[in-house]
Amino acid sequence: MYYFFWMKLLIAEDEISLQQSIVTYLERDGNVCECASNYEEAIYKVSLYDYDVIILDVNLVTGSGLEVLKQLKKEKKKAGVIIISANNSLNDKLEGLDLGADDYITKPFHLAELNSRIKAVLRRGKFGGDENIVFNEIRVDTGAKSAYVLDKPLTLTRKEYDLLLFFITNKNRILSKEIIAEHLWGDNSDLADNFDFIYVHINNLRKKLTSEGAKYIKTAYGSGYKFTEE
């Protein structure tokens, strides 16, 4: 089984620079990305086509992304929705989630982070969160939060499991230490950075995988990482 099938995505973002960067990143996996640069375009495309995941900016230049979300729910579309907002307020987040969004991400974000959220939303939507992600001999059971190499269970800490999932969802991409730290520790990632504690986690995971013969975590440019079979 190879689970990274391509998705059809809509990116509703009025900042063209950001929109195109997201498209570039996501299309590497062979996903199909369509764009909407304003409210009307978003409403039009949402009502006309079906998408797996819609990435929705709250502040579209001519209207609110939340209105698009309402429209989507009214038409009972099954697309997963990730809201992007420049506003870090808890209320906005809750409002978006109340309206039926699947996730909420605040600007600025890492594209790798967005990608991993998209995959998570897709898993939840299509498989009720219970899915096996397979990468060659590695299998990650997202329901039981456990990982296997050739069906032999790996003993991973919570963070190591998170890290493995993050690597697999962003395979073939270079992940800097900063991106990984922020994914694992959010606002506290600056603390981890002070002690280079990130190395400990990555090295532990790498050792556990390597001992089972799965040598996929590669160092890139000295300080970055890449999960790849090359």
Binding site: E15, S17, L18, S21, I22, T24, Y25, R28, A86, N87, N88, S89, L90, T106, K107, P108, F109, H110, L111, A112, T157, R158, K159, R173, I174, S176, K177, E178, I179, E182, W185, D187, N188, S189, D190, L191, A192, D193, N194, F195, F197, V200, A220, Y221, G222, S223, G224
Partner: protein, 418 residues
Amino acid sequence: MRKASKSFLWASMLLMVLSTIALFFYVRWLLEQEVEEELFSAEARIESALSAGQHPSSLAPIIEINEVDELKTPFTKDTVIYDPSQDEMELFRELSTYKRINNKSYKISVRVLVVETNQILWAIILSYIVIIFLVFVFQFYLNKSSNKKIWNPFFHNLEQMKKFSLLSKEPIQLLDSEILEFSELNKEIALLTGKVRDDYENLKQYTEDVSHELQTPLAIIQAKIENIINDQTVTEVQFNQLASIQKDIQRLTQLNKRLALLTKLENHQFTHRANIDITDLIAQIISNFNEISTISLTFEKASNIMANIDPYLAEILCNNIISNAIKHSSHRKPINIEAKDMVLSVYNYGPTPIVNPQYLFTRFYRENKEFKSTGLGLAIVKKICELYGYEITYAYINEHHCFSIDFGSTKSTRKLSS
């Protein structure tokens, strides 16, 4: 106003006493003059009657005419004589003159009952006092009620100003007054409060806008860096530089987030409250930090700490105070956290005390420049404590920095002042 009416009271009292005394002496003098005049005119009449050969009969005690051997100098005196008509001893004013008329020497004594004039004197003084007192009382109350009416808008407006808060959207409600000075004052107050509110709103909006507007460009920069890295055409040096830019973007993002949080705290935008077990929260945060940091965190829980606080802020408060200790813990020595009697204390090792403890909670103050922190963590801690009235203290004990938050001390929530 009270002071004005008090001084008015004293002045009128003084005036009343002085005028009464003056009146008393003046009237007494007038009456004495009158009596004297009466005595002299009666004496003159008797004298002329005597010289006309008539002999008016004595009318004791009012008039007494006696023949005497020798003439003496005339005198006036007060004397107490028995008055048969009243059947009692009475005070008289007496004028005795010695006159030689038709070769006979007479002593003519004329007397006037002084009691009567005394009574007149007292009657005048008394009625004066009564009148002036009544006038005074009347005026006092009239003044007071009119003052009340005049000052009422002033006091109302004063109350309004005391209640004035930048947070309420309502403009200040001032009572209009007929007094020119007051209505001018009102105009100025309305203008001033309006301006203060506008400025405040602008500042608030500005901070919000800035933090808001910064996010999108940051997002663009970050996204582009990620794409550049993945283009596989960069050198290692370039990669490291890009990674360093990512780090700086992260710092900027943190700074932005914390500034926005501080602004929200200052605007009192956190109104949600729940009962939070701080000790539970600390235990949870410690387990989170254990995943990040190799520094050991010990937690001594003598008693539970419960606080009525916004859950989100509670987490930030505990997180910031512990992460501050982790950041500044020298020599990777363990950090001790204690919960006892509603006081949460965090100890971390430091070989030297802090140079400027008074600036500890100031924004952007960094004791040690080598830490790349936002310089806002403790300022946020302080603000949250202020918001809920918790007391936060710093002490340097046995080579340890100690921050204590007293969740028991809930002073009344402060007004918006700073």
